[in-house]
Symmetry: C2
Subunit: 144 residues, 2 copies
């Protein structure tokens, strides 16, 4: 419960501090994986999902968190890392395991940026690799 850290981050980004916001940001910062609305709902039993939803919207607008779409149909969120706003260069690769349905952050692997035809203006990148993660691969190794 590093509340201090959450509070500092919120103040630094110009977001009003409330108990719920501390809880939501705390959960995201402690998690090693991006979390969906449902994940947060489960972890924060006492908080209504609409509150979490609105909180995430505010966080996103103020660059406290950013969202990624791993193709599972539910958007996932993770706390932004650097002090400054998340830029394209900060976007990292994600890996979605089709067996255990977990999404991994590969934070050291920057999402690649291709050259686009003239006229396309890039705002963000969504780069998801799908397949089988090491753990699941080991588990099913016997049969493949």
């Amino acid at each position: 419960m590093e509340n201090r850290k959450c509070i500092d981050r919120l103040e630094q980004k110009g977001v009003r501090v409330t108990s719920i916001r501390i809880l939501v940001l705390g959960a995201l910062m402690e998690s090693s994986r991006p979390m969906s609305l449902a994940d947060l709902e489960k972890e924060l039993e006492t908080v209504d999902k609409s509150s979490i939803f609105r909180t995430l919207g505010i966080f996103e607008k103020h660059h406290v968190v950013h969202s990624i779409d791993d193709g599972t149909g539910s958007i996932k969120y993770e706390a932004c890392e650097g002090k400054d706003n998340c830029t394209i260069a900060d976007m990292h690769t994600h890996f979605y395991c089709e067996i255990c349905h977990r999404t991994f952050c590969l934070k050291d692997i920057t999402a690649p940026l291709v050259n686009l035809p003239d006229g396309f203006q890039v705002h963000s990148i969504n780069y998801i690799v799908k397949g089988v993660c090491p753990a699941c691969r080991r588990t099913v190794a016997g049969r493949s």
Copy 2:
């Protein structure tokens, strides 16, 4: 209505030919953009969405079409190109315009593949670049 072409493709992929399947595949092959279930529903008024849904599932399994997730919340489909099955190398880049909400196929731009840590087995790639398309950029040029 190049029915012949659709029928050939279905037979070649080992999919039973029905009138609905010809319609669905025809619509996808004629479209310059990937289509969602809702898009197909609108274009094929006479066909029930559950039929389209199941048809797409069968098409996907038999590599007649593949799906992409452009982060809009609705999966889009496009007809596979080559005679053989779609491979990772065939996956191309998509661009989603945040203004007009259209998804563009950049067929000449192969989706990049990063090097993953050991143990990750890749099946597919989802690479979406988001921003503003040339047409919308021109339209809003006056104010930016």
